[in-house]
Symmetry: C2
Subunit: 661 residues, 2 copies
Amino acid sequence: MAAPAMETFRPEEIPDLEKSGQAERAQWVLNAPEPPGAWRELIHSGRETFLRPCGNKLLALKNQPGPEQVVLFLQGIFPILVWCRSYTVKKFKNDLLAGLTIASLCIPQSIGYATLAKLDPQYGLYTSVVPPLIYAVMGTSREIAIGPVAVVSLLLPSMIQKLQDPVADPVSYTKLVLTATFFAGIFQAAFGLFRLGFLVDFLSHAAIVGFVAGAAIVIGLQQLKGLLGISHFTNKTDIISVGEAVWSSVHHHWSPYNFILGCSFLIFILFTRFLGRRKKRLFWLPAIAPLLSVILSTLIVFLTRADKHGIKIVKHIKGGLNPSSLHQLQLDGPQVGEVAKAGLVVAVVALTEAIAVGRSFSSMKGYNLDGNKEMVAMGFMNVIGSFTSCYVATGSFSRTAVNFSAGCETLVSNIVMAITVIISLQLFTKLLYFTPTAILASIILSALPGLIDLSAAYNIWKIDKLDFLTCIAAFFGVLFVSVEIGLLVAVGISFAKIILISIRPGTETLGRIPGTDVFCDINQYPMASKTPGVVIIRVKSAVLCFANANIIKESIMKWVTEDQAEDTKANVKGPNYKLVILDTSGLMDIDTSGIASLQELHKNLTSHGIELAIANPRWQVIHKLRLANFVGKIGGRVYLTVGEAMDNAAAPDAERATIQA
Amino acid sequence: MAAPAMETFRPEEIPDLEKSGQAERAQWVLNAPEPPGAWRELIHSGRETFLRPCGNKLLALKNQPGPEQVVLFLQGIFPILVWCRSYTVKKFKNDLLAGLTIASLCIPQSIGYATLAKLDPQYGLYTSVVPPLIYAVMGTSREIAIGPVAVVSLLLPSMIQKLQDPVADPVSYTKLVLTATFFAGIFQAAFGLFRLGFLVDFLSHAAIVGFVAGAAIVIGLQQLKGLLGISHFTNKTDIISVGEAVWSSVHHHWSPYNFILGCSFLIFILFTRFLGRRKKRLFWLPAIAPLLSVILSTLIVFLTRADKHGIKIVKHIKGGLNPSSLHQLQLDGPQVGEVAKAGLVVAVVALTEAIAVGRSFSSMKGYNLDGNKEMVAMGFMNVIGSFTSCYVATGSFSRTAVNFSAGCETLVSNIVMAITVIISLQLFTKLLYFTPTAILASIILSALPGLIDLSAAYNIWKIDKLDFLTCIAAFFGVLFVSVEIGLLVAVGISFAKIILISIRPGTETLGRIPGTDVFCDINQYPMASKTPGVVIIRVKSAVLCFANANIIKESIMKWVTEDQAEDTKANVKGPNYKLVILDTSGLMDIDTSGIASLQELHKNLTSHGIELAIANPRWQVIHKLRLANFVGKIGGRVYLTVGEAMDNAAAPDAERATIQA
């Protein structure tokens, strides 16, 4: 890097007219109107977030006659009333095709995910009936396919089984899962109604990528139970416990037939996916491959009676429509707090997944999702789901993608899917008696590679190393400790990173960009030139506060005094500094400790014969500096820009007073 | 507020020469050298913090001959070797006077604080012997008076008595307190050696003001036990428990004589303080008033044998020098983790108080304290103290102030004080048999008003409402819950405030300041003028990240689209926006979620026919935007300043390309 050129500093050359303009502008800085107080700002941002959108709608409603008010209100809650008017037969044909396609994928996946959630298989099917129907009338997305998903099916048992062992007492366990579903729905609806959509943003992109990848591996490990036909398995989800369980089982009792059967069909499903990618016209092949596998493998087992030779089968699945589960909800008792907490965590994770899925497909089709409305819809579908034997449903990434490529037009495809599942529940559950569990495991396994997004992880690594740290922390947290710890660590690191960046106690030196009056970081712009006798320093942090003010003060002092010492030592006829300009344009706020440090800085600089000037302070900062009487202490040396500070601040106090008067 | 004037936007008027200069500068923005990576920056700041100061000293050492190296090294550790050379008889006279004055204050306070810490009275005196002597040879402050202090004496038992009841088993309790002292010393020395001085800054000024005021009231409440002569008292420190204990005792058994005696001497001490403030020459009167009170009241009780009538007395104080307590340290066992935690908390609080005290007096005399060296000195004195029956000592505010006004010159006054205490321990402890406990309570009570700094609290309220929230949260936390909770809440709120400010999802609109090319917030500068067709937006937060990027994106879109709608509705011939300039000068960093949101913003703006330009990005931000290929997506519309963005960005892509080429 070339050393910045030196430029001579001659304040006396500035014409008088220009100077008086600058003085006037310095007064503008000092006499800015009072910024809104903390309360007013809080109330304002609260009103912006919560009331304004509702207010606008209420205003729109008020201007309408009575019956139309009702219609508009209903249309606001049930978007289906709007889009069903323009629904056509052609659209229905597309939706029918898409709905049947996702149903064929959904049925085997639902049974598998229910097993993952340690519930009876029919609960997965129930969850593919009611929630999609509710969402179809309330949701605003057009592509999202609702039902049980892998991550939620992993997260729920990992929290609930601490309260109730699913093997020892499956009935009580199921009750707790349904109660957690109820709470999750309540939380989701509340987030939407109180416009707390931003809570979903608290899981950063990087955290989600790491978390989902970790969860995918954990889910895959859980499938080893079905794939190897192991009877005794661990309840823990971390890789070490599962590894030990698998290792000890492999030495004792496992059935190679299960493994061979599962692997063959896994290869079949993966092969169809490969084909589907190569030829876009064959998109339906990977979508129905799981159902085909179920049918084929069931037939094989039925014909060969392989279940007598160690192949584990699903056996009885309770048929018939969703039974009511209202009486199963346990809203009192000692565990209700823990269950509600589990519901909250699941609610946030489920919403994060649904909204990520919804947004990515809506932006492809070029329309906007209303995040808060989505949350209300998801909340209602889960509350009503918890009344009808469903566990937490959300938008599934794999099925939504299939729905999209199958050409769905509206949420009618979800209705078609739900009806197909109803028919299966009524007629075909008996046929699933001989379905091998290894096939369900291989269907879940086949969906997992899509959850591990290596290219996203690489992108994060490339752009932001600290973000990548969040990502791998979430990944390893899920893999080696537990699902919740992984989430917690990811959120913790994300916020720690914000604090770190905001209070980073660094400073940078600014120089003049040639041909302008703009002053920039001399490391970023090597062509920027320093002015002898003046140091322009910008604080790298966003807040000058208790946590960094003292270090920043000391580093500025060290910088000013040591740099001078070096200049003198090297016998370069370096001029002594006369002026330190603090560019505060990047400073969002300052607190009482920060102001105290600035006062000490000024005192120390004065004892070295150096003046301190402030350039371009923000509203809150200049307001607080004035309140603390700091402006008076530095002789009113506050300017609009670094350039004006340089032109004026070096003049002695008396002379400046005459100019500004 | 006057509506900002409108200014016409005519990019075509800019001369060609100027334009090519601007184009070149835009290239500078884009082709900045690569900023240091996360690792390099981490290593650099680590080196700056830990190695550089040592390195400089080592370098200085290397250039010296052998024996002088040793001398310099020893002088670095023991500053007394430097200042004792210029020590004079005149200085000693001043130090002797000051030392005797603080000794007279220290003896009764030490006994009282030991009682507050639920230790035998002699431990307070021990703590006023060894730590001051160690500090005198290692410390860099000249005024600080070392010994037991009120806040630490309250904090220690509040944490240790959870592990061991001081009434049921005082011997084990004392062992744990000494062990905690040992750990506190180790932590303090480690902070200093590893240059972690900044950890002390994590208690913000506001938090300390609130915490100390709350602690003062809690300490005062604890003194009610001695003042009212209550036998059964609560172990808890919160105001409600203490109030209940006092209330129930007042109904059963208390002795009014204790109260009358204590209050009379409290009034006497406060009156002498009043006199001392009125006449500066009488500064010694408030300083020796406590000792006078002790002597007088002891005499009264001895002569009247008032202890037979319900006056509670100190009784036996073990005389003689500090015994060794090496064998009492419990460095194994199940409680060692908890004790170490208590040691850490006490270490931080003690250091915070000592450094606050040291800095305020050193800045009065105009010299600098080396924070890290101070910590090492404090650490050593506490470690050695824990070997010699001392509990945690630190710099006392009240005694340091007395030391200062008594005209101390060096740390010799601490040595004088320690020797005086040694003499008292050897000769006078038997004389303290009849000292009434109510007097000790009134001596502690008399020191408390100095801890409640109402004017500082008012100043915080005036300058920063959120800081004030930290302050009162610490205050009420200490008062109503417990000492640790008060600390924890204060630290928590302080950091939550940083997060809140850094990710505050607000935006502000900028306008041109008349007579300049500078663009500022139009709320802060009402004279700033908007340019038709262009919106200049600056994000209010410091980091565009997962937590705020989405909300900011939506608010910009709402702003742009709604503002346009309003203009059209009001029939003002408002021009449609053609350009949104995002001033990113305040943005310290951006993460992958932030970049994704900017990409969506650009897509949405494009669909409204609006261009997006970036002005003045910081080093990290432009680097990441380039890595994510965002710069290419917005057609290279990145400029050094808002003004240049305005001049250039409106031109169509093709034309801009020719200019820049």
